[in-house]
Symmetry: C2
Subunit: 180 residues, 2 copies
DNA sequence: CTCAAACTGATACCGAGTGTCACGTTAGCC
DNA sequence: GGCTAACGTGACACTCGGTATCAGTTTGAG
């Protein structure tokens, strides 16, 4: 149900533009009521970005699974492979979604917010790797920078219409900031 | 006028909570109409965050003014001094605003967005320093990371109730990512 | 003094999100 | 098989932020 709703919504958004489509439009097209749509998604934006959430835990888990003696930056680089997995698995869909998001301020803002929400989990994971309870300034900075690398890499990948290699882009992004 | 409106709004927000105060409340307290408030700010959030904008150009200008042979990371670190200037000039006010923002999801989101909007100017400045027209992946990443350092530094400064030295926090944040 | 431009406030409107409630369906249980 | 409790659904009313329009007023330049 949720998935079908999201699909109908995405289709409408892409065809008519995100803010030319009301929640009522989506609900009607999907054959449900406005109430139902809002119970499933809570927000118009979430119909597009719901898949984006909960990747946070997977990346954090991957980070925790890295060898303890590995430096933060390398560990983060590898953990980010789990973030780009969905892009590699379904490039066309990922491209379509990314284009819609980039062209819609409201979606961009919400995505930025969701991405930002990953930071605590990553910083915490780094802190645990270091054996400390609370993340240090360095942990927060590195976690944030790693997310930027992901973001910048994906942006360039989208700009190239998926032509460039996302893995190489990520490597390039991470290389721009040598760890210590 | 704008400044007084912002002051009245801020006062109300801090006392009753941002989302317990409607635009009408602010307008009434300031003795103007809702229309006028919205013409000045366009958004409820902007009444608090308007000062935050337009720092982008100053920082970018500072970045361009750095010696051409200086490495990006050092240049960014120095440029960021202009971003924290207002915090050093009026620490109490900056602290009060920062606390309100941190405690209000809507304000946090909007601030994040405004911060994100600095990136193009910084990345472009880095590109010009390098003699290229368009920023490279490395430029984007470094610009973004520098903003994170600023953000993380300020966050910790607020957590310490202004007790810690913001300059040292910034140094520490930048040191967490060695440049190349 | 005049006239144009800018400022203001009133009004109407749209759409997102919240809360509530009644109805129907389903599923467990005796 | 019938009873009931839980849940999904939809209808409705409401609040509030933001947009657009327009008429009245102020202001300032010539």
């Amino acid at each position: 149900m949720r998935a079908e709703l999201a699909l109908v919504a995405f289709d409408l958004f892409r065809r008519k533009g995100f803010d030319k489509v009301t929640i009522d439009d989506v609900a009607e097209a999907a054959g449900v009521s406005r109430s139902t749509f809002l119970r499933y998604f809570g927000t118009k934006e979430d119909a597009v970005l719901s898949a984006f959430e909960s990747k946070s835990e997977r990346v954090a888990a991957a980070l925790r699974a890295r060898p303890a003696d590995e430096d933060d930056w390398t560990a983060l680089r590898h953990a980010m492979d789990h973030a780009i997995a969905s892009y590699a698995d379904a490039p066309d869909e990922a491209l379509a979604v990314a284009r819609l998001v980039r062209g819609t301020p409201a979606l961009r803002a919400r995505q930025l917010e969701k991405m930002h929400a990953w930071r605590p989990a990553l910083a915490q994971a780094l802190a645990e790797r270091a054996g400390t309870g609370t993340p240090s300034v360095a942990h927060w900075v590195r976690a944030s920078a790693a997310l930027d690398c992901f973001s910048v890499g994906v942006d360039h990948w989208v700009d190239s219409d998926g032509g460039l290699d996302l893995i190489e882009l990520l490597d390039e992004a991470f290389a721009a900031l040598a760890p210590r």
